[in-house]
Amino acid sequence: MTAPALRRLLDEIGPVDATGIEERVAKFTTRSIKKQSKLFGLRLAVTMVDLTTLEGKDTPGKVASLCQKALCPHEGDIPMVAAVCVYPSMVKHAAKHVKGKGVKIASVATAFPSGQAPLKTRLAEVRQAVADGADEIDMVINRGAFLEGELALVQDEIVQVREACGDATLKVILETSELETYDHIRAASFLAMRVLRPGDFIKTSTGKTSANATLGNNQVMIEAIRDFYLATGTEIAMKPAGGIRTAKQALQFLIAVKETLGDAWLNNARYRFGASSLLNDLLRQLETQRTGAYQAPYTFSDDSTGY
């Protein structure tokens, strides 16, 4: 008799101790980043932001100002962000503003955030978003199927979405808060990575549930990326999303990357932040570093909210 698929996968990839992971990541939070290294880290973080708006009330106008913010976050020599991240219906509006200018368009397709639509509908949504100009597709996995142990189904859906993406980069959202345990997060990471292309992403969260990216689930996922890379040579990228609102948090996530995956992952082809309010805090801290004076929040244009 063969063991159930999830059991087999867990045996193959090995367990995670929750307390141990949390002790490990606590050490990242005690790193003290000063002066030039702080500037470097803050600028790097800016380039990694997927500036996101995912609201029912999003309008072409809202997306337009988000795109302006993405291209030119603040006066001075601030770099542009990695991408804007919008609903599929907004892709064509975003394309008008950023296409060809260095900021990519990411879109959350596949009946985001629940994923509870027929596969056919989800695939059609992906194709449309790509046709409208999306460079990157953020999909959600079928958590229900995962928790039921229907791993082949989960993986097969990822493959089909990947095919629908064409040349667009795929980001697979595990929705870690619904998988709940670190063991599940590690298992789901491997499940996805095994059918991804080099440069595709695994991503923590939709930002639409109570718990989002944490240093803990980020660590489990980047360790999975590391183990997968060492075993197969395939470089998978990582995107924590939701809940990262401060520059201080972002630097802690980057320290985790530096000390777990090393220098090759310290760029926006390999690591992203799914965030909106984070950007202004990064800018605020950069200005503080530049001017030596603490900054007020209203100095920075408020073109991104939520997430």
């Binding site: 101790d17 929750a18 307390t19 141990g20 949390e22 709940e180 345990t181």
Partner: protein, 287 residues
Amino acid sequence: MTLPITKTPKCYVGGAFIRSESGRVYETHRSSGEFHANIPRCTRKDVRNAVEAAAKAGAGWAKRTPYNRAQILYRLAEMLEARAPEMAAALKECRRSVDTTSPEQEVRATIDRIVHFAGWADKYEQVLGSVNPVASPHFNFTITEPMGTVGILAPEDAPLLALMTLILPAITTGNSVVALASHAAPYPSILLGEMLATSDLPGGVVNLLTGERKEMLPTFATHEHLRAVAATATQEEATALQQGAAESVKRVILHDPKTDWFSSSHDSPYSLRDFTEAKTVWHPIGA
């Protein structure tokens, strides 16, 4: 009248009855003054052999369930009760003028003490152990474990009660024992060995030697495999014991030579503590 068959006194070591490897004996006399028996005069080599036997038996004894240890100790009380008159007679033969209690009282007190400790076997852990409320996500508890093989140097007086008072806490907690009996009154320990042999106590858990204390004390002190020594000792003996013990960082438990062995203060879980190591275990809590 037929000539009675006299018993050859032998030491109880490794579950067998042995003479000293030295082949030497010393005479003991009845309270009337007449010759009683030739007692083995054990040597440091006998101590070594007994420690080997004890170490071999100890692991299994420590793994017995506390309930099983309790029943075996109670069985020992049953054995002593059944042969109480014989033991009292043996004690009577080595009575000294200073003794204020009767041999029957000593046998009775010994039986009661055995029963007392039999009852502790499956309870002391709940008194001596603890769950520790640490300030981190860990489950943390402290349990006791036997030390291993321990040495006992019994006093000259109360040759049954004192010997058993020192042995009982050691074996209740799962240690194995090498004990040296009273030199002046060794015969009760010879009888005790016979009772131990029929009590279901695995052979080698308690080993009883007789002979000259000063010949064997240095070995008790320095033998590295003995993890503790409990004794009543003169100032000079205590110094020698503790000095010898230092090389192997041995635990030395000294009892006041003037202690009243009949006192209920000896019925205590804290004498069990003397023969245990505390082990603390940590484990994270998380899903």
